[in-house]
């Protein structure tokens, strides 16, 4: 079993615990051992706190990385924002001058950043350390004939020099992860657009989201799959606002990839927190019904966070 330090950030554990449950459950099934990081803080976020003071932002991020260094483990994130902060910190602190500045700050709390723990987004962790085949083999409910649109978001891929994840102009990691579930990924015309969350005006994000949801609708995707909780919030709560504003109903349920994987691995629909979404992926229920007759031993007790 491979071991990795888990950096859950703020948004998923505090607002979307069903996503955290899904991560712990699915990675257990994929033979990845999760080691929790004691004393971790916010990454800190690459939009707000970074805007206040980059040096403080780097220092707190470096502190979080030292927690993984203490354990001698690489660290993985489940949020593209955390990935941006921690990957950028890892990259920037290769510069000796900047590292010395940050280490002067860390000295105040008796810590030192060494740059020994690599940072990975959970999507690439699964791609590189687990493999698509193992994901496919873990699926008990293949999502056949389901069209899944993909929202990559920004910080999984860009800046590619720092992230080193995939070709930002023609990525395939998400398509492959979705294909491994038996579903059919579809690339809509505006797939590369941003969710707009960081923008502090109303018009830019709402017009952008309007265009994006329109093209998802055009390709007749049943759900919009993503790997970032911030994007998720935009496409769930934000979609409602956009639909109201433009008087249209796209009804595109967003879904966090690892919840989709957990469902495909057999976790009951009702135990994945979908009831809290504004746009619920009810379309998944048909796989539950068809699997019910053939399979009955996969259901887990409610709230089981670990696999034995």
């Amino acid at each position: 079993m491979k071991r990795f330090a888990f950096f859950p950030g703020c948004l998923i554990p505090a607002r979307h615990p069903a996503m955290e449950f899904a991560i712990r459950h699915t990675l257990g099934n994929l033979n990845v051992e999760i080691v929790d990081l004691e004393g971790a803080s916010c990454c800190p976020d690459p939009i707000y706190f970074k805007s206040k003071d980059k040096l403080s932002w780097l220092s707190v991020a470096a502190r979080n990385l030292t927690l993984a260094e203490d354990l001698g483990l690489d660290v993985f994130t489940n949020c593209s924002g955390c990935t941006a902060t921690l990957s950028e910190t890892y990259h920037l602190l290769k510069d000796e001058g900047l590292r010395a500045k940050v280490n002067e700050r860390l000295k105040r709390i008796g810590r030192e950043y060494r740059g020994t723990s690599r940072v990975r987004h959970i999507a690439t962790l699964v791609r590189d350390e687990v493999g698509y085949d193992a994901v496919r083999e873990s699926v008990v409910r293949p999502l056949e004939d389901m069209k899944v649109a993909i929202h990559y978001g920004c910080h999984l891929l860009k800046p590619s020099r720092i992230m080193q994840v995939d070709d930002p102009n023609d990525p395939n990691v998400m398509e492959n992860l979705v294909t491994a579930l038996g579903a059919t990924p579809v690339r809509h015309k505006n797939w590369y657009l941003c969710c707009g969350k960081a923008c502090q005006t109303e018009d830019i994000p709402s017009n952008m989201m309007h265009d994006l949801l329109g093209t998802v609708h055009d390709v007749q995707a049943e759900i919009l799959c993503m790997i970032c909780p911030t994007c998720f919030g935009q496409f769930d709560h934000g979609q409602m606002k956009v639909c109201k504003q433009f008087g249209e109903d796209y009804h595109t349920p967003p879904i966090y990839y690892f919840q989709l994987l957990a469902f495909a691995q057999g976790v009951p629909y009702d135990e994945l927190g979908f009831e809290r979404q504004r746009f619920k992926p009810e379309c998944l229920r048909r796989f539950e019904e068809s699997a019910e007759s053939a399979e009955s031993a996969v259901a887990l007790p409610p709230g089981s966070g670990k696999t034995e």
């Binding site: 703020c10 948004l11 554990p13 505090a14 607002r15 615990p17 069903a18 955290e20 449950f21 712990r24 929790d36 004691e38 004393g39 803080s41 916010c42 800190p44 976020d45 690459p46 939009i47 707000y48 706190f49 805007s51 206040k52 003071d53 980059k54 040096l55 403080s56 220092s59 707190v60 502190r63 920037l92 900047l98 500045k101 002067e104 700050r105 860390l106 105040r108 709390i109 920004c154 860009k158 800046p159 590619s160 930002p168 657009l193 941003c194 707009g196 969350k197 960081a198 923008c199 502090q200 005006t201 018009d203 830019i204 994000p205 017009n207 952008m208 709230g303 089981s304 966070g305 670990k306």
Partner: protein
């Protein structure tokens, strides 16, 4: 560069009003921020513009123009209330595209650091920063969060050692005072 065509003055006879006086003081202050000096490498090619979602959806936002203002030292046009800088979506496309590795998005964030020094901040941004500085997290925690987590068999949110976080971010939290002693700038 200028909008209205101006006849070239004869050599040695440049009139003062034709000369753009670069405010180097502003540029020096910006350069003190992490990666704030990168705009110096900008040669105004515009590669950052085509892929910029904020430019696509706004009549005002243009990363190339922001870099030009930085080069001219026109900080006064950027460091204002409701600054255009807040229209940036932080998508990093400009960082991806720039052939000069200017990282316009990072220059924009460095400019926001200067806005923070001036205390000019949109309320929603200020609110989230405050949550982080007080709790070490950007998402507020309350008993309902832990109850929600328990539903999925997850333990309560673990505590953040705030004494350590406060020590790390100290120089800026107190009234924007200068960096403390021992920290070379």
């Amino acid at each position: 560069m200028s909008e209205t065509p101006v006849e070239n003055p004869p050599a040695g006879d440049a009139r003062n009003e034709d000369i753009v006086r670069v405010d180097f003081q502003f540029r020096r202050e910006l350069a003190e921020k992490v990666e704030g000096n990168l705009a110096s490498f900008c040669y105004q090619c515009g590669a950052c513009v085509g892929d910029c979602p904020a430019t696509t959806y706004s009549d005002e936002f243009n990363p190339r123009e922001i870099m030009l203002k930085v080069l001219y030292g026109l900080g006064g046009e950027l460091l204002v209330e409701d600054s255009i800088l807040w229209q940036c979506t932080n998508c990093y496309n400009c960082h991806e595209r720039c052939p000069q590795e200017v990282k316009p998005v990072e220059v924009i964030i460095s400019l926001k650091n200067m806005l923070a020094d001036l205390g000019i901040y949109p309320d929603p941004v200020q609110k989230i920063i405050k949550t982080f500085e007080e709790t070490g997290r950007t998402t507020p925690i309350n008993p309902a969060v832990d109850r929600h987590r328990a539903k999925y068999g997850l333990p309560p949110m673990p505590p953040v050692p705030m004494d350590e976080i406060r020590k790390l971010i100290e120089p800026r939290t107190s009234t924007g005072a200068a960096a403390e002693e021992g920290e070379s700038e």
